[in-house]
């Protein structure tokens, strides 16, 4: 007999979430208004003192985490009603959900390396438990294990990096990192920064450490994908920013590294996203793309600090931080939309949808808003942050020397290609899912989700529009977090910065004007066409009178021209059987997009390693006698090692005496 009924559990969950959110938000609001909270925990003899610091940077991320987790919980409670029979699994799921939330908050505030690793680890494991909720499917387990292993490689690299600092400085405090930078050479601190970047890149999904993402996101339930894509991968961004802040290093070099990696990440992510047929995999690749955009912002900020170009630094970091918030909003909205579609149709294959806008008008509307936002189109929020990054790049372009111009051109080129490809991708996704005629008849009725699922989505959509129209307030809130990076810079041209930040206000006005303009045109159109004859008829088919849904453009045919262009870069598996003979039987064509980086960087070496290790399989022959022999050999080796040491010393001594 469970202690609490399942119905009450969801209420308990929401109350707990609410408590966590309110409790942590008190500190964050204080931090964002200028009062950083510092609490010193005594800690244990191993860890030493554990400072809990809520500074503006942490506060910004805590606010993002809280918002996404809270809306995710409300959406998730409704989403999970379909699984109400699996009571024990549900409890485990929600406990790990809460645990992930708390650990994410802890990661933001803890400033002790050992405790940081500890909460980081709990976060990784509890999010793994969240992902494998549908563990009876082998695919889900495989994706979960993949995620677990890769996030632990990341942890390993972080441990090495922290261990390096500890050995040099003898302290677990984050402040030791700063001291570390002063004691060692510039190249060593640059190496440490690279280690940190690599470690955190595993979490956030920079190329080539992204391969777990496209598996884990589709395997998880919708709200978990939303939360993971919205905030869990952003914690990697937080880590990179925190280390940049702590470790004064060669900002130009690290900026160039981050910028190049990010541009490649962004373009590669969106290029692969376009050819996906699984809606959630498509969204997962878009997360990689957006991480790339955030990374470009960070790179611009670093270059700005390195070249002492104050406006560039401020705008770059502002763009990166704002895009972190924006992406968490529209990506979670997209995943919830995908969740609604999945619950209505039990499918995530884009090719099987069509015309859902008639059955699910709310979901379609919300998905449209999120698609426009993720493409970075005005008047939505994605545009604001992309605009900031653009202006950062352009200001580097104008004022910098050759290397800055070169990097900026690269960045602008990347960003504009990403923008264009994102439009191609989301017109494909939205068009084939919601528009046209149904391509597949489902056995069951397709219903719109109930209002409990839609309310959190509408809340997110409102925020998306609000940031698009009133961006100034949000950029203002970013002022203190940015100052943490740029505070030490000589800021004689404060005015230039303020004007460049004021630009976003003008964008807001322009966006409002655009909406009003569209409204006026719409109104005129309504008035003029009020008493015109309006008839409804079939879609024009060039004289063909018996069109059927199969004749529609599919998602693959929509991107076929693109696929032909991209074939030299991407990798596809094609299976087809062509129509032959006078009485053709069946014919089909399947195209599976592959991840080239995954094939060469992960699968190929793994195959090698497996092949090589197979040669030792004779050791594991199953007979007990051999295993006893191994044990005996092991003990003998243990005994002989000290002897060898003694013998070595003896020989050295002997040689010295001669």
């Amino acid at each position: 007999m469970p202690i609490i009924e399942i119905k009450h559990k969801s209420i308990l969950l929401i109350i707990t979430e609410l408590f966590i959110v309110i409790f942590s938000s008190i500190f964050t609001i204080q931090a964002l208004t200028g009062n950083t909270t510092r609490i010193l925990l005594v800690g244990t003899i191993v860890t030493g003192v554990v400072p809990i610091v809520t500074d503006p940077l942490a506060a910004w991320f805590i606010l993002i985490i809280n918002f996404t987790f809270f809306t995710g919980a409300i959406y998730g409670v409704n989403y999970m009603k379909a699984f109400h029979a699996q009571k024990a699994q549900l409890s485990l799921h929600w406990i790990s959900y809460l645990l992930t939330h708390i650990c994410l908050l802890a990661v933001c505030v803890v400033q002790n390396m050992l405790v940081f690793l500890l909460v980081w680890e709990i976060m990784a494991i509890s999010s793994f438990v969240m992902v494998i909720f549908e563990s009876e499917k082998p695919k889900t387990i495989k994706a979960g294990i993949n995620y677990l292993i890769q996030s632990h490689i990341g942890v390993l690299i972080l441990t090495i990096a922290f261990g390096w600092v500890y050995i040099k400085s003898g302290s677990f405090l984050f402040d030791a990192i700063r001291i570390f930078a002063h004691t060692v050479s510039a190249s060593e601190s640059f190496g440490l920064m690279l280690l940190f970047f690599t470690g955190f890149a595993f979490k956030s999904g920079f190329i080539p450490f992204h391969t777990w993402l496209p598996y884990a996101h589709p395997a998880a339930p919708a709200h978990v994908s939303g939360v993971m894509s919205g905030v869990l991968i952003k914690i990697g961004i937080y880590g990179i920013l925190r280390m940049l802040f702590l470790l004064p290093t060669n900002y130009v070099a690290i900026g160039v590294v981050i910028l190049v990696v990010s541009v490649i990440t962004g373009i590669y992510g969106v290029m692969l996203a376009i050819v996906q047929h699984n809606l959630k995999t498509l969204l997962a690749y878009h997360s990689i793309e957006n991480i790339g955009i955030i990374g470009i912002g960070i790179g611009v900020g670093c270059l700005g600090i390195g070249s002492e170009n104050f406006p560039m630094a401020v705008i770059g970091f502002a763009g990166a931080l704002l895009h972190t918030l924006n992406h968490s909003l529209f990506k979670s909205l997209l995943f919830y939309g995908a969740g609604n579609v999945y619950q209505a149709t039990h499918s995530v294959n884009i090719e099987s949808f069509g015309g859902l806008i008639k059955r699910m008008p709310h979901t379609a509307f919300l998905f449209l808003i999120a698609s426009l936002a993720i493409c970075g189109l005005p008047p939505f929020n994605g545009f604001i942050s992309e605009f900031l990054i653009y202006s950062g790049l352009i200001s580097g372009w104008i004022h910098g020397s050759f290397i800055y111009v070169f990097m900026s051109v690269f960045g602008v080129f990347g960003l504009s290609v990403i923008g264009g490809l994102a439009i191609l991708c989301f017109t494909k996704a939205f068009g084939t899912i919601f528009l046209g005629t149904p391509r597949h008849t489902f056995d069951h009725e397709i219903h719109e989700s109930n209002c409990m699922a839609l309310i959190p989505m509408y809340v997110i959509a409102t925020l998306i529009v609000a940031i698009g129209i009133f961006p100034f307030y949000f950029v203002q809130a970013l002022w203190l977090p940015i100052q943490q990076f740029t505070g030490s810079m000589p800021n004689e041209n404060m005015l230039a910065v303020l004007t460049s930040l004021n630009v976003v206000q003008q964008i807001g006005i322009a966006s409002l004007y655009f909406i009003a303009l569209a409204g006026v045109v719409w109104f005129i159109r309504k008035q003029l066409t009020k008493d015109r004859v309006i008839t409804y008829n079939e879609t024009w088919g060039c004289g063909y009178v018996a069109p059927n849904p199969k004749m529609q453009y599919t998602a693959s045919s929509f991107v076929r021209t693109y696929r032909k262009l991209a074939e030299s870069i991407l990798q596809f598996h094609k299976y087809k059987k062509e129509i032959k003979g006078i009485f053709p039987n069946e014919a089909f064509q399947t195209i599976l997009p592959l991840d080239r980086i995954e094939t060469y960087l992960i699968n190929a070496p793994l195959k090698r390693i497996r092949y090589w290790l197979n040669r030792f399989s004779f050791l594991q022959n199953g007979s007990l006698q051999f295993y006893i022999l191994y044990g005996l050999l092991f003990i003998m080796v243990l005994i002989t090692i000290p002897f060898i040491g003694h013998f070595y010393h003896f020989m050295v001594h002997l040689l010295n005496t001669f």
Partner: protein
């Protein structure tokens, strides 16, 4: 500029007719067509949803919006701020996004085909515009349309060369964005070879009128960019007549290009569009040469 938009496609048609030895329909004809369309009722496909009805409005207003950002003859546009060319490009993209999904809304394979091509080609054209505007920004040191065109002046031979390449790029961008001849043939009668026209097969009545007028406006929009390149810093009273002259020349030149160039094969379009990006990189590097950035 709106007045100019009324005549532009008439001028193009007229030029094409004259070069092909016909007597044209008169430059007012497209205008009459649009007015006629605006007065008509509509036929909607049963497949379509509200997206299909909303899209032409958004498309039209996005172009009006973009237009209100361009300066003319020393007076700044209605909106002018640093980096406004980014907003310019993205607001046009918003309109395009709606146009594409409205084409997909009909569920017709012709329109899907057109939408697919439109999305791809305009994506490929985007970097060219950004790098071009960026190089101009680098040359002048400003980042808004207004300031860039105000301070753009041609001093040496190399800047003249730059001006010519930039004009060429803008002209070609016009052709791509408006789906004109080397890339697309608006007058073809075979849907399989269309891009933009294939997307609007199902639009009718008021909506179709809006789309046609939007296309005309878009021509003038790009014409205005070119105008601004040359006479951006002249006072208003000389600008307005000059503006019309250049727009006219612009329309005639497009008509001439259309008359003498055959449409490319669809598969080669992508290469053609990418050439523009490399040309704009050429501009960038010559600007770098001029401003001695290589040495610093």
């Amino acid at each position: 500029m709106i007045i100019a938009s009324l005549f532009i496609s008439g001028i193009i048609v007229q030029t094409k007719s004259i070069t092909s030895g016909r007597k044209g329909p008169g430059i007012m004809q497209p205008m009459k067509d649009i007015v006629k369309l605006l007065k008509k009722g509509s036929v909607y496909s049963k497949t379509t949803s509200w997206i299909f009805q909303l899209a032409p409005t958004i498309y039209f207003s996005s172009i009006l919006m973009a237009m209100s950002m361009l300066p003319l003859g020393g007076s700044r546009g209605l909106f002018s701020f640093n980096g406004d060319f980014v907003f310019f490009a993205y607001i046009l993209a918003t309109g395009k996004f709606f146009n594409i999904i409205s084409a997909l809304d009909t569920g017709s394979s012709f329109e899907g085909m057109g939408a697919s091509r439109e999305a791809l080609f305009s994506m490929l054209a985007e970097p060219a515009f950004f790098i071009l505007m960026g190089s101009l920004a680098l040359l002048t040191g400003f980042t808004s349309f207004d300031a860039i065109f105000q301070s753009l002046h041609f001093g040496s031979y190399i800047t003249y060369a730059l001006g010519i390449i930039a004009t060429f790029i803008l002209l070609m961008l016009t052709m791509i964005e408006n789906s004109r001849m080397p890339v697309d043939d608006p007058k073809t009668h075979l849907e399989l070879t269309m891009i933009h026209e294939a997307m609007i097969l199902d639009n009718s009545g008021f909506d179709l009128g809006l789309i046609f007028q939007a296309t005309n406006l878009k021509f003038v929009l790009y014409g205005m960019l070119i105008v601004n390149m040359f006479i951006g810093n002249l006072p208003l009273y000389t600008t307005i007549p000059l503006f019309f002259v250049i727009q006219m020349a612009f329309g005639i030149s497009i008509g001439l290009i259309e008359s003498f160039i055959a449409r490319y094969r669809m598969g080669h379009n992508a290469q053609f569009v990418l050439i523009l990006s490399s040309l704009s990189l050429l501009i960038l590097f010559s600007v770098l040469l001029i401003s001695n950035k290589f040495n610093s």
